[in-house]
Symmetry: none
Subunit: 203 residues, 4 copies
């Protein structure tokens, strides 16, 4: 902790000397990883990410000792935004529509993050923290929306929130960074939602 007991009438900038650089590097890494995950999947080599971020491999490992740390950093923020979007939707729309809208928002997010679905199902223990994050954050969010929609009678089917999230993620699996196949994903998710509303169960 390099002291900083000085004048401090300064607004903010003067603080954290080296720290700022470090943060910038971490950000650059997340950014590079985000782009590369989208371009080439989550399995892109660490060195490639480092180079793209303009730092050495060592720096990558300093900031993200575990590969899952980087994955998390890449997805967490948007995942949080996704969670946060639920309440406003629930307040503004009837349960059924709130559900639809939220799922579509989630769909677009996952579709934009190529490799997310793959990481979730890879079985590689490195990605477990990410899966756990889903369980603890996204699943309860969807569960709430589903419960409300059931109560209101907007949906007839009962479905497990975790399963449903996973299914949507899977349906986004083939979406390319250029957005190709994105329409397909949304159409199929729409079918899933329609199935939820329908009175009859599966055949």
């Amino acid at each position: 902790m390099p002291a900083n007991t000085s004048s401090l009438s300064t607004v903010e900038p003067a603080t954290r000397p080296r720290r700022a650089d470090a943060r910038q590097n971490a950000d650059a890494l997340v950014e590079a990883a985000t782009a590369l995950f989208a371009e080439a999947g989550v399995d892109v080599p660490a060195r490639v990410i480092a180079v793209r971020a303009g730092v050495g491999v060592g720096t990558l490992y300093r900031h993200f000792p575990l590969r899952s740390d980087l994955i998390s950093a890449v997805f967490r923020r948007e995942l949080d935004a996704c969670v946060a979007a639920a309440a406003p939707l629930a307040a503004a729309y009837p349960p059924g529509e709130a559900l639809d809208r939220w799922i579509m928002r989630y769909t677009r997010f996952v579709a934009a993050k190529r490799g997310l679905a793959g990481a979730l199902h890879s079985g590689d223990p490195a990605y477990e923290p990410l899966a756990a994050y889903f369980s603890t954050h996204l699943t309860p969010t969807l569960a709430g929306l589903l419960a409300a929609a059931r109560e209101s009678g907007d949906i007839a089917q009962d479905v497990d929130a975790g399963e449903f999230l996973g299914a949507v993620a899977d349906l986004c699996h083939g979406v390319r960074p250029d957005g190709a196949a994105s329409g397909r994903a949304e159409r199929m998710v729409g079918l899933l939602l329609a199935g939820l509303r329908s009175a009859e169960g599966d055949g």
Copy 2:
């Protein structure tokens, strides 16, 4: 053990036996690959497959110069069986039920083939022939079933057969060789089918 120890005074056979051996090796490789894809995914090392088949790696490459060739060989047979199952079902059941039953059969097949979905969407050009096989064989089959079901009014939604097949494959993505998550896949496919039957489109 491709033995070939005789001086074989026969006229033609001298060639045939060898061919037979080659065929046997190819079969052994397909069988080994089938088992290993299910056990460990499509990414299992070539050497492992060769060892399991009881042949050298060189032999594997001779028969399947491209990895996708082996993949195709592995799936083709069952894919064909799947296609062949459509006609009997269409003859025995009303269009809607035939569709449901066929999709469920396809679901179980894909779920059993760990890695199939991954291969289809990997983006690796090596797997394109496999995707092409889907387009030329499975898609028309499903298209037929879908058309019949629409005509009979069993399903209300219109859907692209290729997209639907891909969606089902994706939903099987997380299924493990031990069958774990298999229930999930079937439930989600059921939802998809229910969506097909429902009168309203997506929200």
Copy 3:
């Protein structure tokens, strides 16, 4: 926490305090290194030592630019204590017993310093200063004890003091921090001493 918040109107002190801090850090580093060398050997990473000492790596390198500097600092103190123990022993016991007791004290010291022997013989030029320290301090000490014991007739063999010290150090090579194999080392050193007393030379 190297504070230095004064405008230092004082004449000299302004320098001293800093020195004191520096000294404290150096001491902390030596202490940390001592503990870690014993726990994990001399090859423990620099960063680990720095962390244990509660300072940054940079500080470690400032005080001990060469790894051997730290090694030396770690062992020097105890080496000095070892040297200092010779005189009292020589005064209190007959030459032969003084020799035995001193060697055993040295043995226990080396055995407790895992990695010392390794460092001495590593061949890495970085450790030469340490070897030099042995030559200039310990060797003469033992030489004195040996000479006295020969004169008194307590030992029959002639032996080079430096060689003998090295041999004892080597015999402690396998001793673990938990003391395992320590008995072995002492038994073998005992044999060496017995060999010294025996009338006949080697076979």
Copy 4:
């Protein structure tokens, strides 16, 4: 197993087509490793060994999947020769002298194999097989010689064969490939042997 059912009136040479190459590589690797272990210690990088042997790293790993496999290959032969030397010595000399001669032979062997002692005490599990080999082969050999010498009264002290072997190995620790310090090792081992013959235990 490439058949080899042919004429075979040949002496030996024609056999093992590729196998010969493979064997040559394995030999080259052992030779390179032997040299490099002596020059730079057992910790030389695998890649360096491979280059020196004129093969790719992959080849090294093919022949010696575990580092300990290579170590073993390097030392085993001479270790065996050492063991084999015991019987003739025991037959040709009185127990005490046989012991001395065998130990000196062993000393010269270990001294010539720089890094052997280090490997034995490294604690690295990779070297355990080597240590085990010592226990099962060399230790019993020495135990026999020691027992005979005790019975004949040639030695007075009792000593654990394993400990003694370890001690001798340790004493060879500092010997350089150029033979420097070799005299020292032999002198110290001589002292150890003298200690064995002496009537009194350690002080």
